[in-house]
Symmetry: C2
Subunit: 487 residues, 2 copies
């Protein structure tokens, strides 16, 4: 990445070798060749005619208050909206009304059943030798403790690997505590490297543990625990699992380091409502020439229960709706249909399969591109396009247009488009990566509230999605024709 | 402050005028004169002999882990310790044991009764038109709501002045909400300017309100509410009072701005135990020549209940104990007695009066100086000395010694030595002001935990207190003899 960057209309060369002759003579020829090889039918001339409008849309998006206003409204008027909850139904009604008001050509909902997990009262405290209250939150899908709670000695592990290294039976009757810190990274790497720890209850149970406590997957220092989904492995006891506030995880580690047995009382209550209704809300601006061709931009409407789901993912909802609406405000609808999908069960899973089932292979074959906005409210810094697109005229023009936003286009193709797109088959994906440096201070915690959203940063992300969506919807680019087999 | 600073042995002149001749000839004469006029018996020659040891102590303090270790131990082994609670008694026992282990010559406790306020279960939620949970914490001394809570419409005020401008009866039956933000300031100004808002319940009740909610006095964005003491005015209904997490206060303001009546359900439970025992712990290193002369450095052992009282005020406890101990590790005890007082009811008041009553006028007359460490765990940036001391040889040597720590000596004398010293009569005060820029992100909230303490910053503050304490305890400086009537 550091040594090879796309510059303007030039091909991929280090800047220091990109002399005038190369840029003026060789590069255009090479570019044309790449276009033929890699990106199929979208001729450069066609694309070039879109440039002024795309640039104008970008700048209009930067000044648009709408993404921010939608984020404000969803967090204020609905707040937390767990999949399958009454609040989620309210959120869907809210979204339908909002999208109709904005003049989408079609708005509908797609209901599907989920196993809705509901948190109940919960508490934890050190009983001995240093009695203190602890901040905990049950992880999504955790079983409750027996009524009255569990009291047991803890075994603290500095890393998840240390837990996995514990012999069979070594945790018999104990509460396992994993205190591995999550690193702060700009991309999702820190999170991806640690998410498995959240589902470590079964590995603790395999070694005899009666409950599982995990240091919140958080880069912040707030005492508010960060929840999130967990899964049990088959054929092992299902033990209660909860997240500790990061200061509380450190506290337990310090207590344990003193050498005396540390005993905890843990009480979690929750229930699962099988077959609870949740809803994905879909809205379209119908394409003027190729209405059957779909440009899908999505976000998820559901959230965890502890905060108000502002950066996860009201801001995503706001920005994709704003992007679509900005394009629809042009004098004419774009060639292709722009579809906005606001998914109804991202956090606990379910909306990806529901969407893929509802919109089967024939329709998926008409999805020109799909992109989900689910990385917060900060600026986009990196774009991953479908395979072959980065070096094709489409990608080079896109790079030009978003360069003033501080965005570079990756030479690596998008292979992960977000959880809700994971069940689509052969649909080209785009990933507009937002800066996650502070995102995991808030993610899945009570601190995920509207005040954390910066309107100008969110507008930058909106601008990136607007440019991408417009270029694909107005051109005849077809990423599949030129798709390579490896990214 | 910007135009006149003390430089080395020179008098107070702008640096650009501080030429060699002045510094070498006039300044020493002027300094000697000032010493006679302003600071009594401590001759410059005596002070100069203390310089190498003071500098060595400063550097030893910078490397000392003890303040940090004490902070760790108190927050780990005791945690929250509200005045008058069983945890506070445990904290006092903990402190006595720790101080004896450290070899203090005398260690004792001073019990006194307080009206101990105990938080019970509490909750709040918007009932209509946008049902959402709210993060609240009752303010210390608040009465509870009736069992079952209060449900009422809110009236939101952007500032406390706006509430005070509301006419009589205008809040009848309503819950008053004050959403005035607290500014982030390096010194205590932002807090001092807003603390009266926390005691606004009576003014709301005067206008008919049935409950009072205040935006947390916080500079942070955590949803955790910040509690703190409040007081009722006489002859007005005592209505329940609680702090909202800052995001929740903003949420209510946004809801109210939509124009429809917003209704809240608020349930607070608490009780007051009159005559509950609390304890101030006192320890001394006895002076070798003038044991009756007392150099008092203090901090408070009690804390609010929500966090573990790390920056408020375990770090203060750690640093004054470390400062005293570092001085006691010298080959001989200092001339005067160093007394450490760990107060037992700073947060709800009571320890100032208890100390003043126990150590009456005769003993107070033997207090050479008093200083409390109760401004967190960050670096000291400004020192205020007793009247006249800054420009006297004592102050100028002190300024020299702490200049490498990044500390300047104010030309304004200390008039406020911290809450626990407020009942002392005619005792010279010193204030070593720590940087409060991030302190009010944590103060009085669940987020006040040990992980927020930086050992190197705390060691810098320890070094400042060590130098001050040593210079006063080893010299014969007497601030009273030279005290001016105005600062």
């Amino acid at each position: 990445m550091a040594s090879a960057v796309t510059y303007g209309e030039g091909a991929i060369v280090p800047r220091r070798y990109a002399g005038l002759a190369f840029r003026d003579i060789v590069a255009p020829l090479l570019g044309a060749l790449c276009a033929l090889v890699a990106a199929g039918g979208a001729a450069a001339a066609d694309l070039d005619s879109l440039r002024p409008t795309a640039a104008a849309l970008r700048d209009k998006a930067l000044a648009s208050p709408r993404a921010y206003e939608i984020t404000e409204a969803l967090t204020t008027e609905v707040g937390a909206r767990p999949a399958g909850s009454p609040a989620m139904i309210k959120a869907a009604d809210w979204a339908v009304a909002r999208l109709k008001t904005l003049g989408f050509d079609k708005v509908w909902t797609e209901s599907f059943p989920v196993a809705a997990w509901e948190r109940g009262p919960e508490s934890a405290a050190v009983v001995a030798p240093y009695p203190q209250a602890l901040a905990v939150a049950a992880l999504g899908n955790s079983v409750p403790t027996p009524a009255g709670g569990i009291e047991a000695e803890i075994a603290v592990f500095a890393t998840y690997e240390a837990l996995l290294a514990a012999p069979a039976g070594s945790l018999a009757g104990k509460i396992a505590v994993v205190n591995q810190p999550m690193p702060r990274t700009q991309g999702p790497d820190g999170y991806f490297a640690t998410t498995r720890i959240r589902s470590g209850a079964s590995e603790a149970a395999r070694r005899g543990a009666v409950a599982y406590l995990v240091r919140s997957l958080s880069t912040g220092s707030s005492r508010s625990p960060h929840t999130g989904g967990m899964r049990y492995l088959p054929d092992l006891p299902r033990i209660p699992a909860a997240a500790l506030g990061t200061p509380d995880a450190d506290l337990l580690a310090r207590m344990a380091a003193r050498g005396r047995p540390v005993r905890i009382k843990l009480a979690l209550s929750s229930r699962i409502r099988e077959g609870a209704e949740t809803r994905t809300v879909v809205a379209e601006f119908t394409g003027r020439e190729a209405p059957e061709e779909i440009v899908l931009i999505g976000a998820h409407l559901d959230s965890w229960d502890l905060g108000t789901g502002a950066v996860d993912d009201a801001s995503g909802v706001g920005l994709v709706v704003d992007a679509a609406k900005l394009i629809a405000e042009l004098p004419q609808r774009p060639r292709r249909t722009i579809r906005v999908a606001l998914f109804g069960a991202e956090e606990i899973g379910g909306s990806a399969a529901a969407y893929a089932a509802r919109h089967g292979p024939e329709e998926q074959a008409r999805h020109i591109i799909a992109s989900e906005a689910d990385t917060g409210a900060d600026k986009v810094y990196l774009a991953e396009l479908p395979a072959g697109a980065a070096s094709a005229p489409f990608g080079r023009m896109f790079a030009d247009l978003v360069s003033p936003l501080g965005i570079v286009v990756s030479q690596t193709a998008a292979t992960d488009g977000g959880a809700d797109l994971s069940r689509l088959k052969d649909v080209p994906l785009a990933l507009l990566q937002q800066d996650l440096t502070t995102y995991f201070d808030l993610h899945h915690s009570a601190d995920d509230t509207f005040d954390k959203v910066d309107r100008h940063r969110l507008a930058q992300a909106t601008a990136a999605w607007t440019v991408l969506t417009y270029l694909v919807a107005e051109s005849d680019v077809d990423f599949r024709k030129g798709m390579r087999t490896s990214p």
